[in-house]
Amino acid sequence: MSEVLLEVRDLVKHFPVRTGLRRPALSVKAIDGVSFTLHRGETLGLVGESGCGKTTTGRCVLLLERPTSGQVVFEGTELTTLPEEKMRAMRRRMQVIFQDPYSSLNPRMTVAQILAEPLKVHGLVTGKSARAARVQELLGQVGLLPQHARRYPHQLSGGQRQRVGIARALAMEPALIVCDEPVSALDVSIQAQIVNLLEDLQKRLGLTYLFIAHDLSVVRHISDRVVVMYLGKIAEVADRRALYEEPLHPYTRALLSAVPIPDPKLEAQRERTVLRGEVPSALTPPSGCVFHPRCPIAVPRCSAEIPALREIRPAHWAACHLA
């Protein structure tokens, strides 16, 4: 396997919340002891339902959110203790693509201005004409036409806007791109275009992706390895094939069985495990295994003892007493 690009060790992020004037301050345990590594050129999928901490994990990796504890080691440098000015230089190497390109692109700037600005600010390309040439090159890389440079975000379709968001990330020549739900706001017919584009760019430019999404089918398609999160903790980590074909954690199994398959004949025969209840509050997570109140196979031990993330098969980890 290639070298490690990013290593996240025992990451914790708690958000304090005041519940009342005289009541003790509580904290939301958004992520609670998350560790994983990401190799150069690899795509690591991060899946889970809303509130599982996947987006917070991405923000902590980029140091957009300061972790409560734990380490983020990127290209050999520990980021959580890095002074701000050094961090700024590191940020260029790690970029992000957001879910909604409409709210992350400045509506008053043309596409050319949006793409040229970071080139200028970071001193990547000097001289107006050189920057204009680089903008054209970036547009070409993401499948946009030269005339799109003069358009404003509102004059583009959703798919085209996401292409601009990708071009802006590429402008910085990053090693890592955190993709936070990059296709979930797009129409079905456009999602496949963007997924293909991300894969092409990865091959061509040797990019590494942390791909955060809730759509399990898209994550299987694009990821080499997959991390499943539930309520701030990692439930399971494995290679794509192992995770989807032989899931070990009951939560992963329930998640997979909840995805409807676009085939009426298969759907009619399929057995489903519909989970009871809802995701509990991260303010007061359940004792023991956080999944036990909804788990179809829970035993008394599960409510008493927190299961450790164990390597149950080679390179296949799960946090379940019964795995």
């Binding site: 496949a192 995805v259 398959i261 009426p264 989970l275």
Partner: protein, 316 residues
Amino acid sequence: MVRAVDGVSWDVQAGETVALVGESGCGKSVSALSVMRLVDEAAGRIESGEILYKGRNLLTLTEEQMRSVRGREIAMIFQEPMTSLNPVLSIGRQLTEGLEIHMKMKPPEARSRALELLAMVGIPDPERRLDQYPHHFSGGMRQRMMIAMALACNPSLILADEPTTALDVTIQAQILELLRDLARRLGVAMLIITHNLGVVARYADRVNVMYAGRIIERATAAELYARPRHPYTLGLLRSVPRLDEPRRARLAPIEGQPPDMTRLPPGCSFAPRCAFRVERCAVEAPPLEVVHPGHLSACWEAKRLAQVEVATEASS
């Protein structure tokens, strides 16, 4: 002027679940809102057509007559329950209001019916929940509450506009199973509007596919997924990665962009993105015609499509 919906016809039989599938801006919501006559007059108007409900044309009813249809006869469930529930009214009041108006119930009777409804949609501890407000409820609970409101007056038709799009997969499964069980048990007909082809496959008896304000294909769910006869439907089915199949080396997207509804091309609206395009497509819009018993398609090349397999190359 935008023709959001152009010459669209669909029907739902008693007790049946029909899906209206399409991408954003294709007119699927507008066509449902028109049934309820909820399209704001300032925003748009129904130029022509008729909406027959149990043989009555809803478009000729007075506003007062229409009020007794909405909620009582035809109910609606929206995508985002938080924006369709009143934040300053208790859950109980929002349920009893309709019962008192439509069903002429007295407050105590309405309250006990409200309790029964909350229990029916699987909200635990309904007695306490009745006095809470929407912000006390989670997203899944709010959608259950919307379903309870929709069922309150025993309607015979429910229009569900993306009922689970805002919810997580495990909650989505809960809500859809609940909707289906209730619809079957109570014999309610349902129109589900969605862009999710998986949801359609599991829950719909018949499917209408919309593109750029028109219905371009209609068939039973089984027939449509096995033998799509419109290039757009085929493209949609091919573009989604599927968990039940080996991973494909590459996804097969529909190329190009969705149409700009203010500047639709002459001829077939899908032609600029279509792989099966012939010369005729650019000049003449194909009508929705029977291509097989019970299967309609609006495509000049529907015959040629009959030979095409849905599945593409697979690898892992």
